[in-house]
Subunit: 258 residues, 2 copies
Amino acid sequence: MTQMTRKQREMEQRTREILRVARPILVGEGFQALSMERLASQMEYAKGTIYNHFPHKEEIVLALAVEAMELRRALFERAARIDGPTRVRLMAIGYACEFFTQSCTDDFLVEQWIRNNNIWDKSSEQRQNLIRQCEGCCMQIVSSVVRQAIENRDLVIPEAISPQEFVFGFWAINYGSQILTHSSPSLMSVGVLNPVQAIRVHCLTLLNGFQWAPMMSWQEYESTMAQIGPALESDFHTICADRNKMIDRNSDRNMVSQ
Amino acid sequence: MTQMTRKQREMEQRTREILRVARPILVGEGFQALSMERLASQMEYAKGTIYNHFPHKEEIVLALAVEAMELRRALFERAARIDGPTRVRLMAIGYACEFFTQSCTDDFLVEQWIRNNNIWDKSSEQRQNLIRQCEGCCMQIVSSVVRQAIENRDLVIPEAISPQEFVFGFWAINYGSQILTHSSPSLMSVGVLNPVQAIRVHCLTLLNGFQWAPMMSWQEYESTMAQIGPALESDFHTICADRNKMIDRNSDRNMVSQ
DNA sequence: GTCAATTTTTGACTCCGCGTCAAAAAAGTC
DNA sequence: GACTTTTTTGACGCGGAGTCAAAAATTGAC
């Protein structure tokens, strides 16, 4: 049994190793460049061995996306627990989005690939479910802040939408802006010089527009964001570091030291 | 010279024909499925002939995207000319976005592909410029409505952002929601049942939040949108039809009739 | 420590698509 | 009709996907 688990451990270990090698290829050179042969040769295994872990490269992409989304979820969880009124907690999640995109850019980019239908459709239902579930968790985290705000009477949302649809708006504006920022051929040349700040202004306007208490001026909003940063940053870095330790376990052949 | 132009016409004609065949493959089965061999055999030409028109499939994708974005621009142009206060004109552009996504879904999906870096980087600078330019036009159309609103004193935008950055917020929320709607693995199951309406509520809140006159209730907003629909729809259909005539020109060997 | 059974790894193989290019076919010219 | 130019063709070389039988390694019974 210990033997069994050792084997399993080794297997899992190598699975992680494959992902570790695959990630920068996918992010830096795209799906095309991510070939099983290349992974194999780069890791000094034969192609067949890689196929023992993943039935095709699409599955590798989804596996990478699961890691990425779990990191996002962990950041959201932490952000939602910040001290303060519900509105500040929502803003903290917004801050987490910014952080994720800017400090975990590779993961942000990996996440994009699941929107590719070819990749999505080809991969296993099991991993699809992991992703759906993770997306569900993220929604859950945010919408429970909204629900609490409603309970507290910090916020009244329009009848026309549900709390989740309320969240969807913020999801869309953040997500949209980040995708555009990372891939729009001409944002700068079109006159959008500071997309992050622009989106903050829009989020502020939305929150005020919905009258989510406490109402804020731009100055207040920015200074609140400026407090959120330091409050979360160190935890965020810990979360990232833990995740990376989990993922990178490449040198520790788990007893040998020295 | 007539000969020359006839040749050119035929060439161009076939280029369009290739795109016509390629579009449904790209949209329905993805980039992988779009192969030069397949195009060739489907059109009953040899592979080399296709290569005379496009140096690789990436270029085909960009060519399709140019067509798509030109349609979008035409819709925006028409929408921006609607009769009414500046705010209604912006809402009309929002309506155009909805229309484009829902009624020109293939073009909407084609547009997405240019965000793929592999495809973007591989294609010719010339076509990249066409796309950048078209994106610039769209931004231009929207931001000139904003600028006019400012001039008219219908709107005062925050100092922190430029008119383009103001537009960027709306771009992001629309774009983001549409991408999520088309590709999020779990929108419905996560509780977002009516994404279009949700985004309308957010846009209303944004416009009111910025105090873009005339301020509206949800009822007024919806009834305004309900008027915009019929006002534009027939022109929109004309625009689409013209575009398709332009693009489909597959049966008219331009003098032979009967 | 040996050996047969089991598990894992390997890489040769087939298939398919990309992109090239010399040769064949067609169109144009006089 | 003969010669030139343009266009089309498809065989070819390359490289990656995914398979699978054979080789290697591991296991555990004795």
